[in-house]
């Protein structure tokens, strides 16, 4: 048996050098795939995740089309090489469940009724997984939707909080997720103070759960700022590129 590693040291510092309520470093990029209508990329700690959005477009198969609103579909998928032991590329039960809860997290945010008889497809590909991929996936897919120009009530942002070695921690990494006591992923629409994805596994008292939710919402609000910056950065880059010839 391997020796049990300590997740949090005496100074309250975690295995990756973070404080208890500190997010992992996050890098966001918008508009990185040329074929998709919208796309984005996130690095959150060691997580590397791509998201692409196609639509509104014609529905295939056609009988799935809805007369009064767009059909929203979502596929969350992990690359075979994204985890320690090769993952079969066939969608696992976990991936099917996550695809469902992520789709449901986006449904209240998108003005689906504006595009009847069409489909909007969200694809989330986890290239490297390091804990909290569903949350990072939601955060990045939200940017891809915005990049595709799909009207939304608000950006959806997601973050997890949980408990490791008896202490409440924000944004769990892989070891904390596996060895820790509980994990609470939350997706949030900050402008409406509304939660659109909520799950939990592990064991928490009701007081601890309350702390976890508050911590996660706090993390969401921080990432929300980064999301907006990333969206603006794409257009800033276009603007700067357009300004270059004037210098001649």
């Amino acid at each position: 048996m391997t020796e049990k590693i300590s997740l949090i040291n005496k100074e309250g510092i975690r295995t990756d050098g973070r404080k208890l309520s500190e997010l992992r470093p996050i890098k966001l990029e918008v508009g990185i795939l040329s074929n998709a209508d919208g796309s984005a990329y996130i690095e959150q700690g060691k997580n590397k995740i791509l998201a692409a959005v196609y639509g509104p477009r014609e529905v295939h198969p056609r009988h799935m089309a809805l007369p009064d609103k767009a059909l929203l579909r979502c596929r969350y998928h992990m690359a075979p090489f994204s985890v320690e032991e090769r993952k079969s590329p066939a969608p696992s039960r976990r991936e099917i469940e996550l695809s469902k809860v992520i789709r449901e997290a986006f449904e209240p945010a998108i003005f689906l009724e504006k595009f009847p008889r069409t489909s909007i497809d969200i694809f989330i590909e986890v290239l490297q997984a390091d804990g909290g991929t569903r949350c990072a996936g939601v955060t990045v897919a939200s940017l891809a939707l915005a990049d595709a120009g799909i009207p939304m009530k608000d950006l959806i942002v997601a973050c997890a909080a949980g408990k490791a070695e008896g202490q409440m921690v924000l944004d769990l990494n892989d070891i904390e997720d596996k060895e820790g006591e509980a994990d609470v992923p939350v997706a949030y629409m900050p402008s409406f103070d509304a939660v659109s994805l909520l799950q939990m596994d592990g064991l928490l008292t009701t007081e601890e759960f309350q702390q976890a939710i508050n911590l996660a919402l706090d993390g969401c609000k921080q990432i929300y700022v980064l999301q907006k910056e990333a969206l603006k950065a794409k257009y800033q880059a276009i603007k700067e590129a357009a300004e270059v010839p004037e210098e001649e």
């Binding site: 039960r93 469902k100 939660v195 659109s196 909520l198 939990m200 596994d201 064991l203 928490l204 759960f209």
Partner: protein, 265 residues
């Protein structure tokens, strides 16, 4: 007769009544439908139960087999949960591979049992890293009238409580069955409570028509000592942080009531 389609006027009626603190079937916000529990009804299964929650009916059978442990948990038995939406249970169910709804149901039921550590999996280890007992929890939905998650969790835990494992002897690393049985080692009784949010109001144990009208669904499972062991939000709507707090308080109270019913059965 039964159709999942709910007319617009009925939708309005359901939502309007809930806004006034009432429900179409006369229940209060925190009332469950009548619960009937039968246990040990399938002799061929190592454990079994049937739960009726109003008109919703779910059967669970437990089978025990020998198998290999997961490589990262060499000293633990294996728990596998599966849910089947049997076509005879609803005009909406079709034969074929499991859909995302049944997969979600199985995973939420599984989460409650697993995270509460209800089954003492370490006691199901026979030869570390090589041979363990595998517990198959098969949820069989027989009549769908809403709130499959709570009915399935109840039926699963009752079935696990009457599950027996055959006695065995190890001979040269091979398992030899011996006459007699011992009970499955259980440490906890997880109970789930599911809410529907309709016009921003929470009601417990939604029946099918309420599920058609609800914006969001929220399930919370509690362990014996009053800790939360699983949560799942479903549905395309939103929940406010205040609603989540309200749900925690109601669920804690209701799970204790339901657990008493389970223990009595």
């Amino acid at each position: 007769m039964t159709s999942v389609m709910v007319s617009r006027i009925r939708r309005q009626q359901i939502a309007q009544l809930i806004a006034d603190g009432k429900r179409l079937d006369g229940r209060g916000q925190k009332d469950y439908r009548p619960i009937q529990i039968e246990s040990g009804i399938i002799g061929k299964a190592e454990g079994s139960a049937r739960v009726r929650l109003g008109k919703t009916e779910v059967m669970v059978g437990i089978k025990i087999d020998l198998g290999e442990p997961f490589s990262d948990r060499p000293n633990e038995g294996v728990l596998t949960t599966n849910a089947e939406f049997v076509p005879l249970a609803s005009p909406e169910f079709e034969a074929g591979p499991p859909g995302e709804e049944s997969m979600e149901l199985a995973r939420v039921v599984d989460r409650g049992i697993r995270e509460s550590k209800a089954i003492d999996l370490e006691k199901l280890c026979i030869v570390p890293g090589k041979k363990v007992f595998v517990v198959f929890v098969d949820v069989y939905v027989l009549n769908h009238d809403g709130n499959l998650i709570d009915a399935s969790t109840l039926a699963s835990i009752v079935a696990l409580m009457n599950t027996k494992i055959f006695k065995y002897e190890l001979k040269d690393g091979e398992v030899e069955k011996k006459p007699g049985f011992s009970p499955l080692p259980l440490k906890d009784i997880p109970i789930s409570v599911t809410f529907a949010s309709i016009n921003g109001k929470l009601v417990v144990d939604p029946w099918l028509d309420e599920e058609e009208v609800m914006e969001a669904r929220l399930t919370m499972a509690f362990s014996k000592d009053g800790r939360i062991c699983a949560i799942q939000k479903g549905g395309a709507g939103i929940l406010s942080p205040q609603q989540i707090v309200e749900a925690v308080n109601i669920a804690k109270e209701k799970t204790e009531e339901l657990r008493k019913i389970v223990v009595k059965s």
